[in-house]
């Protein structure tokens, strides 16, 4: 009995036993937006066996002139019942890889881009683990009219009275746990209405799936409570934006390859990984911070990084070496602080790993602690220009995606530049 076969049998039997009415096939476009189609149990066996054909030309980043039909092939290990639906309306989800009709990996599928980079690391004996801290805001409504109103007035670590937002965050964490998603802790963040969920480390592919699930669960439960949640990097002027600080480690044969005798207990591998990450940071920023709005978070004065530097304590550094308790030496890691929660997690983890591995296999010098060696791009326009010249990105995410990404992001940047903002009107109209 092959593994594939017994997995399919498990899925089909669970669907039958639990009265599942719909199975959602989940995948993401190049920008990391969540896509799904729904199949009934009657269709499921065929979908598991053959995959589901759909027209890829209508999905961002999938379009190609010649061949538009692609196949969504369920990854059966990710089959999971969704716990927030009422009893009797069983709905399950399964993540899909997108493949060409002939079964070869489809260039536009971010999940497989990440797989490819992970396979490369595995060939060198490394497993890549990540643990992101996901920040987001609750707002009283998602209406597009007027300013967004934060749902509470709390601040960092505040134990607020049992308001809607705290209840909602608690319910969200419990729902995530029911789905087997390990939450290290959840807390109120610095800004009003801002919350944070820290996830326990897993391998990067599982974690990218998990980030997609978390974003979905947070938004879905907020909607059910009649409020709105947003992962927009900088929704409010004058307070912290939302980041996705990501903790990273490489493991080899069940041992954390970042543990060593170097500075702050880091190994040579960790030091080289960090050097690679710092060296390539500017060019991968278009992926880790992919929206016009992302760059309003990457401003001096806040906790968000601006310069390319590493440090142990400075919260504005791009790479931080977190302190490790003596008894928990296994948690030795690096923290990469520029990504935001509106990134495509598959591509973000892929480029972070690729940059780090370049360091491990190359010979980049590690700058001194606190030494700023470069600047992160200050706008989407700059980031996209850096991306265009990046050999690392072309290799990591492929011609097809780089090309599409550049086109899409230049259009976005041009559209933004053409705007006359309230800032300009308020400031210049009376003066000039």
């Amino acid at each position: 009995m092959s593994l594939m076969h017994s997995q399919a049998q498990y899925v089909l039997r669970t669907v039958e036993e639990r009265g599942v009415r719909f199975v959602q096939l989940w995948f993401t476009d190049v920008l990391g937006r969540h896509k799904a189609f729904h199949v009934t149990p009657a269709e499921l066996e065929d979908a598991l066996d053959q995959g589901m054909t759909f027209d890829g030309s209508s999905i961002d980043g999938f379009s190609r002139t010649s061949e538009s039909d692609v196949l969504a092939r369920p990854d059966l290990t990710t089959f999971q019942l969704l716990p927030w639906y009422e009893e009797g309306t069983g709905i399950a989800r399964v993540f899909c890889d997108i493949v060409n009709i002939d079964g070869t990996p489809f260039d536009g599928c971010p999940r497989q881009q990440l797989r490819r980079v992970l396979d490369g690391a595995l060939a060198q004996g490394y497993n890549f683990y990540v643990a992101p801290e996901i920040e987001y805001f609750y707002f009283s409504s998602a209406s597009d009219a007027g300013r967004p109103e934060p749902l509470d007035r709390g601040s960092y670590f505040d134990l607020t009275t049992d308001d809607v937002a705290s209840q909602l965050r608690r319910r969200t964490v419990l729902t995530l746990e029911e789905m087997g998603i390990g939450v290290e802790h959840a807390q109120h963040e610095d800004a009003p209405g801002q919350h944070e969920i820290d996830l326990r480390y897993t391998d990067a592919l599982t974690m990218a799936d998990t980030v997609m699930s978390v974003r979905h669960v947070v938004k879905e439960l907020a909607r059910q409570a009649g409020v709105a949640a947003s992962f927009m990097p900088k929704p409010l002027v004058g307070v912290q934006g939302s980041g996705m600080h990501t903790h990273l480690s490489l493991w080899r044969d069940d041992h954390n390859a970042f543990i060593g005798d170097g500075p702050y207990g880091l190994s040579e591998v960790a030091v080289k990984f960090m050097a690679g990450l710092l060296h390539h940071a500017p060019e991968i920023t278009a992926i880790t911070n992919q929206w016009v709005n992302s760059y309003k978070r990457l401003m001096p004065g806040g906790e968000a990084p601006v310069g390319v530097e590493w440090a142990r304590f400075n919260a504005a550094a791009l790479v931080r070496v977190p302190s490790v308790k003596p008894a928990r030496i296994d948690s030795t890691r690096l923290e990469y602080r520029s990504p935001d929660p509106a990134a495509n997690p598959y591509l973000a983890f892929a480029v972070i790993l690729a940059a780090g591995l370049r360091g491990v296999n190359g010979d980049y010098p590690l700058p001194g602690e606190g030494e700023v060696v470069a600047k992160l791009p200050q706008s989407l326009g700059e980031a996209v220009d850096l991306m265009a010249g990046s050999e690392l990105l072309h290799e990591t995410i492929g011609e097809h995606q780089v090309e599409w990404f550049l086109r899409n992001k230049r259009t976005e940047w041009d559209a933004y530049r053409a705007q006359v903002t309230p800032f300009e009107l308020d400031r210049y109209l009376p003066l000039l």
């Binding site: 498990y10 595995l122 497993n127 391998d203 069940d254």
Partner: protein, 231 residues
């Protein structure tokens, strides 16, 4: 009741795997003679027998079935393995066996028939379910409940929990679990096991999370007792 299944004349390939999957102990009587069979018989008798009629002369196989049937003590259900051209020979011999499987032998078919026959004959040692400290797993429907609450498990979570729960109070290293449960290399390496244990504990809930215990610098074990064997 016994969990020993008599295999004649061999227990190889799919037959061996089917016995493993079903969780029974196979003993082999290669000669197919009654005195050899009697010497292998456990004190509480055989649970059943698998006779491979395609591996020795058909009439001899039928004679063996007849002898097993006429023994004072029951040998449990008899499952016959045969080639498709032997099917005609079964006519008027239906009373000599309880079930049959035609080659090439499929592990899941053989295991399913074996389990089914053993259960029909009232053998409850071949449990289709595992019950332990509030956890109940139905191995036929793939459903698991904890204190009556249904757990929604992914396939690998289910497989890991099943493996641990079928071997309570034994300590397994991460490497052992990875090779026995996953059986293939995954991006996570041995830490995959930690990740899945964490997910399982989350799904078991705080009250029952201790069913899977961490044995420091060794690995994991299932169960609530404080004694364990390192394997």
């Amino acid at each position: 009741m016994s969990d020993v299944v008599l295999c004649v004349p061999a227990c190889e390939g799919p037959v061996r795997k089917a016995c493993d999957v079903t969780g029974v102990t196979a003993v082999v009587a290669s000669s197919g003679r009654l005195n050899e069979i009697a010497s292998l018989e456990p004190t509480d008798g055989f649970a059943g027998a698998i006779i491979n009629a395609s591996a020795f002369p058909f009439t001899e196989a039928m004679n063996l079935c007849r002898q097993l049937r006429s023994r004072e003590r029951s040998s449990g259900p008899v499952i016959l393995l045969l080639d498709h051209y032997q099917l005609d020979d079964l006519t008027f011999r239906e009373d000599l066996f309880d079930d049959f499987v035609v080659g090439p032998f499929d592990v899941s078919e053989l295991a399913t028939r074996l389990r089914h026959r053993l259960r029909r004959s009232g053998n409850d040692t071949v449990a289709p379910r595992i019950d332990h400290g509030g956890l109940s797993m139905n191995l036929e429907t793939y459903q698991a409940t904890i204190a009556g609450r249904v757990m929604d498990l992914t396939y690998m979570e289910y497989e890991l929990l099943r493996f641990l729960a079928t071997n309570p109070n034994r300590v397994f290293t991460r490497e052992t679990l990875l090779s026995r449960v996953w059986g293939y290399e995954y991006y996570g390496g041995a830490r995959t096991v930690d990740v899945h244990v964490r997910r399982l504990r989350a799904k078991l809930g705080e009250e029952h999370a201790h069913l899977i215990q961490t044995v420091r610098s060794v690995g994991y074990k299932f169960g609530t007792s404080n004694e364990f064997d390192v394997s």
